[in-house]
Amino acid sequence: GGGGGGTGEGGAITLGFAQVGAESGWRTANTKSIQDSAKAAGVELKFSDAQQKQENQITAIRSYIQQKVKVIAFSPVVESGWDTVLKEAKTANIPVILTDRAVDSQDKTLYKTFLGSDFVAEGKKAGEWLAKEFGSAAGDVNIVELQGTTGSAPANDRKKGFADVIASNPKFKVVASQTGEFTRAKGKEVMEAFLKSQPKIDVLYAHNDDMALGAIEAIQAAGKVPGKDIKIVSVDGVRDALQALADGKINHVVECNPLLGPQLMDLVKKVAAGEQVPPRIETAETEFDQAAARAALPQRQY
């Protein structure tokens, strides 16, 4: 166990970080990045894992307030419902940084800044790629969609962003859309069913890489060639997906960057020193095509 709260005697900043959980490889990479860069930056990190429960995150934030940490950062499980506890933090004069996801609070003074990605934008990017790729195709384009966990923010937003873009062109048809719960196993199972119920599938849009990877196996088992017979676009950019992209089994990956650690530590130091920071910082995110994937693969840690 570590010592008390507050600013460490040696002047080290204490950061309380309330993570969502460890539900995916993406998230684990996110956690690891934060832990590693905290160490590198000399920030004393109080980490907690909420196991996908908002209540647990609130509990953790309360305990950080009790421990009088210097800065609190967290990735909200959901966007709503933070006002009460954030007010408590504000009363205790502890600045808050949001990572990865925003909160929908009306009172923008409750947190200092937001650092992360925009799920809607990711969905849009996937849609735009599709529009470009199939812009000149003749006839209807039949799309199947593998959604994330029902009710979760990334699932809602990535669906919305994608739908917004493709709505502009009537030949894009989402013929089937089902939840694959963000996992490979479910992705495979659902794709197996799609392949039997849908006579013609041109494109698969998966809300994350894992479901796409599962679906690839289903497609292969059905005797089709992923990436050719059925084009695939997915979100995240984990190593296995980039590999599949490099191998031509996936056609496009929209990155959602988990490596927020260094940026976060910079912000923490600034906030702790009372400096002014911009209210919203988007993480550097790219998209990968086959060539980019090959180039990125050797350095991919996660």
Binding site: F47, D49, Y64, K68, V78, D83
Partner: protein, 328 residues
């Protein structure tokens, strides 16, 4: 002819109180350990935060205690909690209902769902596990049909209630939710100990067939118990609304297990007939203090968090068990 039936009325240890005493002792031990390891842990607010953070769970677990005492189980609580938050959010935000109308509406929905499950259990003799699993699916499904997204409630009354802090001393405060939860606990303890309904609950848990032959109203009590649990879940949902000022269809996933765990750690037998509401309160404290200890430590990564949680749970349960054994 007289019979000589002199039985020594010697001291018989109250075996049924032992688990509770053991749990209490361990809680104090854990607190002392925490306070000595992490200075901020010692502040009274940490204890009060346990109540603030778990107020809604406490209410849910109280309902669950009733059900488990009859030898049943209620898996629907998490979903009913979620449904309550979603319905509240929907009514307040989208339909602009006033708060005082939303509260009874939500409570009625919870009670009606509970009643339905009670009917399945009692009238159609469907095993409680399954009847309430159906309820769990059903309530969660309703959540999604109302909304697949979480949304905030910006009703000023709710915000007011949510942010009210009742001071208990310097730097010490509790929330309104805690008061509600403690009132519920007190009422439940009274009902179980001091009313016919409460004793019937125990009798059913002891032996439902006998209870029936003893002329007790088993059917009504059973249905009432599930209704009560539905009601408590809805109330817990309302407290969660106060706690988070939002409605979220993903609320309370896995909550049923936490509630059951709290009840059972509190010394209530899953087979029914034995246990106390106070034990449930302690069970919640145990789960809460484990979480708090881990948060204060703050050095564990996600999987070590799970492993240490399991290990601490193990330690608590085994110590409780051994203490119970030693003393008998």
């Amino acid at each position: 002819m007289t019979t000589m039936l002199t039985r020594v009325k010697g001291y018989r240890p109250r075996r049924r109180h032992l688990p509770i005493l053991a749990t209490m002792a361990m809680l104090i031990g854990a607190y002392v350990y925490g306070a000595s390891s992490y200075p901020a842990f010692g502040s009274g607010q940490v204890v009060l935060d346990l109540f603030i953070n778990n107020a809604f769970l406490l209410v849910v677990a109280v309902g669950m205690t009733f059900v488990i005492l009859t030898g049943g189980i209620d898996l629907s609580v998490g979903s009913v909690v979620a449904l309550s938050t979603v319905v509240s959010a929907d009514l307040l935000q989208n339909q602009s209902w006033p708060v005082y109308a939303v509260i009874p509406a939500v409570l009625v929905i919870g009670a009606v769902l509970g009643f339905g499950m009670g009917v399945l259990v009692h009238v159609f003799e469907i095993q409680p596990f399954i009847a309430t699993l159906i309820g769990m699916f059903f309530a969660r499904g309703l959540c999604y049909t109302i909304s697949t997204q979480a949304y905030s409630i910006d009703n000023p009354t709710v915000a007011n209630l949510a942010q009210t802090q009742l001071p208990l001393g310097p730097e010490l405060h509790i929330s309104i939710g805690v008061v509600v939860a403690l009132v519920v606990v007190a009422i439940a303890a009274y009902v179980l100990y001091g009313t016919r309904f409460g004793r019937t609950v125990y009798a059913i848990g002891g032996n439902p067939k006998s209870a029936l032959l003893m002329g007790l109203n088993v059917g009504r009590t059973r249905i009432a118990v599930y209704t009560l649990s539905g009601f408590c879940s809805a109330l817990g949902g309302l407290l969660l609304v106060l706690y988070k000022s939002s409605g979220d269809p993903l609320n309370g996933v896995g909550l049923e297990l936490t509630a059951i765990a709290a009840v059972v750690i509190g010394g209530t037998l899953l087979t029914g007939g034995s246990g106390y509401v106070l034990g449930t309160v302690l069970g919640i404290m145990v789960l809460g203090i484990i979480q708090t200890l881990i948060t204060f430590d703050g050095t564990l990564n996600s999987w070590w968090t799970s492993i240490i949680t399991g290990a601490l749970l193990f330690a608590f349960i085994v110590l409780q068990r051994l203490a119970g054994r030693r003393a008998t």
